[in-house]
């Protein structure tokens, strides 16, 4: 488990002023979970990544791994303790003149682990990332996805409890991205890792993250489980993850629906139609399976067959079926009903 508390990072600017890149970020990633940190370029993601991987010292705040603050350490103590956090770089950053095996073995050799133990452990690590047969390959002989797997194996060599993946799937093709994300999920479950996934790819968030934190201008805008955020009407992350095209007004009433935080009655359209005597038109939908459940955003048009339906009654019913609804547009008929 990693707890980042009130993390600030300032840099001196050339004009003598101070630039604050991180303005008090607090973030907790429990064991066996993946938190995605998202945000536009210049939001402070890279600086946050450097602070978490202990390559930069924060100006203030703390980074606790299993209760111990690592942000203030330096010298030999830092060297010893930093193994609690494994880092996977964007470009895999393998040493080009060493084989896959040698790259993974390097942290162990540096630590002074006995050769027999290194052989055994590196074998296991390459096996767990599915590259046992490529141990003697040099990075230039591996594909982007394979290189990234070696990078992950190396990051795990010192048995960290936290894994930081800084844009680990950027530049990979869709298949390689899928396999890396599946690997991260597998490692999360296998080793109970707290994984921080720094990314600008919403698709990666949708497919791998348990929780999301959005930062912008060095500040945390919103944070929560993916399902919670998706199901929150008006959530920016929800909009980014499940974008819907604006549509022509249709029907008497237009509703924006989100679901994912509660169990969903999958036959909700028929239930609502029958009970309220309305026709439901699906205008736009972006629904995917996130974890065990369906999550998504939808836009529906509601047409009243005989008489207008009470808006609150309808919304209440949708809520009971596992759907959060907000009204987008309504026609005069509805106004009268309300």
């Amino acid at each position: 488990m990693i707890e980042i508390d009130a993390l600030r990072k300032q840099y001196p600017a050339p004009d003598g002023k101070v630039v604050e890149v991180l303005k008090g970020i607090s973030l907790t990633v429990p064991d066996a979970s993946i938190t995605a940190v998202v945000g536009p370029s210049g939001a402070g993601k890279s600086t946050l990544a450097k602070c978490i991987s202990l390559l930069e010292k924060p100006t203030s705040g703390s980074i606790r791994v299993n209760g111990e603050d690592l942000s203030r350490l330096s010298g030999e103590t830092l060297r010893r303790e930093r193994r609690a956090i494994g880092t996977v770089f964007q470009s895999s950053a393998l040493l080009q003149r060493k084989t896959a095996w040698e790259n993974v073995a390097l942290p162990l050799e540096w630590l002074g682990v006995v050769p027999g133990e290194i052989t055994r452990h590196v074998g296991q690590l390459l096996d767990s990332v599915g590259l046992s047969d490529k141990a003697q390959y040099y990075p230039s002989q591996l594909s982007g996805g394979q290189r990234q797997r070696v990078g992950i194996a190396r990051a795990l060599a010192l048995k960290p409890s936290v894994l930081l993946a800084d844009e680990a799937t950027s530049g990979l093709d869709p298949d390689a991205t899928t396999s890396i994300l599946n690997l991260l999920k597998q490692l999360r479950d296998q080793f109970g890792l707290s994984i921080i996934l720094i990314t600008h790819e919403m698709d990666v968030v949708r497919r791998a993250a348990d929780a999301v934190a959005e930062i912008r201008d060095g500040q945390l805008l919103q944070q929560g489980s993916l399902r919670e955020l998706l199901a929150t009407p008006g959530s920016r992350i929800g909009q980014q993850l499940f974008p819907l095209q604006p549509l022509e007004l249709s029907g008497d009433l237009q509703l924006q629906l989100t679901y994912g935080d509660r169990a969903l009655a999958t036959d909700w359209i028929s239930q609502v139609s029958q009970q309220h005597q309305v026709q439901v038109d699906l205008l736009a939908a972006h629904v995917e399976q996130v974890g065990e459940r369906l999550a998504g955003r939808l836009r529906i048009g509601v047409r009243f067959n005989h008489r207008p339906v009470g808006l609150q009654v309808l919304i209440q019913h949708l809520y009971q079926l596992g759907i959060n609804a907000e009204v987008l547009e309504s026609q005069t008929a509805l106004q009268e009903a309300v």
């Binding site: 060297r79 080009q96 003149r97 390097l106 942290p107 540096w110 190396r154």
Partner: protein
Amino acid sequence: MKPLADVISQDTPWSQIHTLMLPAYLETWLMVGIVMLFVVTLGGLLGVVLFNTSRHGLFPRPAVNRTLSWIVNMGRSLPFLVLMAAIIPFTFWLTGTTIGIPAAVIPMVVAGTPFFARLLENALRELPSEVTAVGLVSGGSTWQIIVHAQLSEALPAIVAAIVLNVISMIEYSAIAGTIGAGGIGYLAVVYGYQRFDNHIMVATIVVLIATIQLVQFIGDRLVAALQHAKGSYSS
């Protein structure tokens, strides 16, 4: 009475050239060898410190970096002939002589060290910044990161730098011939220039060209072998 051309031309017969050329050639390599030993050690150390005191390095020290950089630039700004003359007192103090191989080795080391330091620093600067970062997050000590990550990754570039330096040192050894350093430079000056021995002059030129070509050829092959066998950043 002999024709004038015969009086001023005292060309060593071609069949005798090797008796002069071979010992001189070995002296040249002896000088270059000794010098390169110091240059690679001292210049290598200086280059590593230069890189690692920069803001991309392991122990950024801007003031130290600027000072070292200034010293390196100073060492590189003097033409070798001027440098050689300028540091004669220092050379004499160190070796007790101002002529011969010992007297040539000192200015050659003084000139070659900053050159190699800059080449090595550049080789390290060409590496992706992640190389040092990987070393740090993998828990390496400063020494481990420098040797196993930085220098090991930059090896092809370092070999290329050594080749470049060897060629410069062969050139400098010829210039050092002017202070009686020995080697083929001395041969060219004393026989070719002062005694109008055209045969020696031609032989010296041929040997120098062949040597430089050979060194460069071997160096290029070595660099290519190091890159191809184990991948490279440019590929």
